[in-house]
Symmetry: C2
Subunit: 203 residues, 2 copies
């Protein structure tokens, strides 16, 4: 998970910056972007206000960096999941398992990417468009491959991939809204697998 993993690249980054990013994910998720203050973030991260301004000129800049790094983490994780399998059905299952794991264990990450900042931070518009585009490709690449291999019928794979991104995001947001989400996560993954395989016309 971002700002929590033992990933070596992240460990090399400055610990104070990491602590602020980690705190910011939580604070933005809890209070929303507008209500969250720099004071909240430095208090949660246990650093001084001077430390904050050494790294970031303002709250917006921190948010944009946070969004970008969180989006990269999610996309990278889902791509890895897809690349770890060879048939379309197994790729779909791996992507869904990975996405739901992040949603369950790091709900603030999904909250941040799918809900928190949209429309709030002007500098984010291009970043959110780029995130959506990468998320569409997470589905479109395996789908195109499956079409070539005859595992699914010919279709407008771009449009199907857009549909899959929207469907999965919406079902995951629905899952996160449930208090017993950990208990029902396996059922949600099963339903989403069925949805995706049906929607793509998988044989």
């Amino acid at each position: 998970m971002p700002y929590r993993s033992s990933d070596k690249t992240r460990q090399k980054k400055d610990a104070k910056r990491t602590a602020m990013m980690q705190a910011a994910v939580q604070i933005f998720a809890e209070r929303g972007y507008q209500a969250a203050t720099i004071r909240d973030i430095v208090k949660e991260a246990d650093v001084s206000i001077g430390t904050f301004y050494f790294y970031f000129p303002d709250k917006e800049t921190l948010f944009v960096h946070l969004y970008e790094e969180t989006a990269d983490f999610l996309i990278h994780t889902l791509q890895q999941a897809a690349n770890s399998r060879t048939t379309f059905a197994r790729q779909v299952d791996a992507i869904l398992q990975a996405y739901v794991s992040i949603a369950i264990f790091e709900p603030a990450v999904v909250e941040l990417l799918l809900v928190a900042g949209v429309g709030t931070v002007p500098a984010l518009t291009a970043k959110t468009a780029s995130f959506r585009e990468k998320l569409i490709l997470v589905w479109q690449i395996p789908l195109t491959e499956a079409m070539k291999k005859g595992q699914v019928p010919d279709q407008n794979e771009r449009r199907t991939a857009e549909g899959l991104v929207g469907a999965v995001d919406q079902i995951i947001l629905g899952l996160l809204a449930q208090p017993d989400r950990e208990d029902i996560a396996a059922g949600a993954v099963r339903d989403m697998n069925q949805f995706v395989l049906r929607a793509t016309g998988h044989y």
Copy 2:
């Protein structure tokens, strides 16, 4: 379309309020909520600033009313489309045709509901949740009916409906991002029909 139709209830409402609402849809869509000013709106609506404050205490209140009325209009239109048909396949087609018509001829409406205000206006959080819920029911009600009639297999109809809402919204946003959207709209409706019927396992 809202603030443009010949619908009698709307006509009875005050013309100046209607003009401001109509102007606001355009201004918010063009500039975004934060950048839009009350001056922009009254200029576009050709009313005085005093008229604005006679109707609304501030920009946020206007936006919340606008969101609510626009959401009601969209939901009502989609429900009417669904109710006008009796088989699931025809209901799906009617909903998709109606949604795409609004998206093509009133892109600002869809922009407002799906993108513009999220996260920006705190008072909107409950309204957006209620809009999503109603949009899910637009799909869930025909789907439950189709399950009872044996037109689709048994499934978690709530979760499928969430998936359909997400899928359709994402494909429509993809359509709106295209400069030749009017020309490709029919193809998008065809692809979405196929997607929805496949995803629900329609026989």
